[in-house]
């Protein structure tokens, strides 16, 4: 082990090995930071999905009749569906990488099952289902019309 017994200090081989080790450690550390950053991004997406879905449910909660739903809800195969898209900053846009679908299916006359899904492209970020009771399912509040 002539190299290790040398007294001149570090040899080229020793330094090369050190640099290689440093490079390896750097890659591991950078990967850890990237993983942490990705986890933050995913957590942020789930947060935003939760907030955007609960916002939509709050708006729904406030509606007492089907007639008072906004025009964004359309009837599609016995379901009432709303689709919305959001850009990278989760701002409402016509097209975007995030998509939210709210669909309501009739259970009884006034009770609807609500399915909410939030997608990133083809990948589902979160989904939940709940029920919405319409006090006046077929009437517009106040005017008495059908």
């Amino acid at each position: 082990m002539k190299v290790l017994k040398a007294e001149e200090g570090f040899t080229l081989i020793e330094i090369s090995i050190s640099v290689a080790m440093l490079a390896f450690i750097s890659v591991v550390v950078i990967k850890l930071f990237l993983a942490a950053s990705n986890i933050n991004v995913k957590a942020s997406e789930v947060d935003m999905a939760t907030i955007l879905i609960s916002n939509e449910l709050e708006i729904l909660y406030d509606k007492t009749s089907l007639a008072s739903l906004s025009d964004e809800y359309i009837v599609q195969d016995e379901e009432i569906v709303k689709k919305a898209y959001f850009d990278d900053l989760f701002v409402l846009s016509e097209t975007g990488k995030y998509g939210m679908t709210i669909s309501m299916k009739k259970e009884t006359d006034a009770l609807y099952k609500v399915d909410c899904t939030f997608m990133k492209g083809e990948k589902e970020i979160m989904s939940l289902e709940t029920y919405k009771h319409f006090k006046y399912p077929f009437k517009k509040v106040g005017d008495g019309s059908d």
């Binding site: 570090f10 640099v19 930071f33």
Partner: protein, 163 residues
């Protein structure tokens, strides 16, 4: 190479250069690592604080949501604040929830809104409270370069729609 006499050779210069490179790389790695770590932590903290602020507001509204007991009002020096009127054993007491100086505050008092009686709930980079066209309370908080808004339906509005 003689051990007693120091001679500069190509190998020595290369070794010295590599050593310097090694030191610089270690320093840069530590510096950049620490910056990235702080950035990741700050982003995480901002997201957490935003979640806490919006959940706090929503929880307070839902806990006390009786007709005409929860509403939004404007106060000089404070801007818009959510006002919660308590009943029963807490009759005459109010809670004011508002954003001021980069934080969310709650003031629990006998109808007076002031800084001295206010408690800081959580620090957020900026927030505002408004009423939407549909009559829902909208809490907006800025976080990591974007604005997060959460809507809360209130019974007062619900009653108004039914009537």
């Amino acid at each position: 190479m003689n051990n007693k006499n120091i001679k500069y050779s190509v190998e020595t210069i290369m070794v010295t250069l590599l050593l310097i490179l090694f030191s610089i790389m270690v320093s840069v790695l530590i510096f950049e690592g620490s910056l990235t770590y702080k950035k990741v932590l700050n982003a995480k903290e901002s997201e957490e604080n935003t979640r806490i602020a919006l959940s706090f507001i929503n929880m307070k509204i839902k806990q006390n949501d009786l007709a005409n007991r929860v509403y939004l009002d404007s106060f000089e020096g404070f801007g818009n604040a959510i006002v919660i009127e308590y009943g029963d054993e807490e009759e005459g007491l109010f809670s004011y929830i508002y954003f001021k100086d980069g934080a969310l505050y709650e003031c629990y008092s006998e109808g007076v809104l002031c800084d001295e009686l206010s408690t800081k709930i959580v620090e957020v980079s900026g927030g505002s409270l408004n009423i939407t066209e549909d009559g829902l309370i909208e809490s907006k908080v800025s976080v990591n370069g974007r604005e997060v808004s959460r809507l809360s339906a209130i019974r007062t509005n619900y009653e108004r729609v039914v009537e």
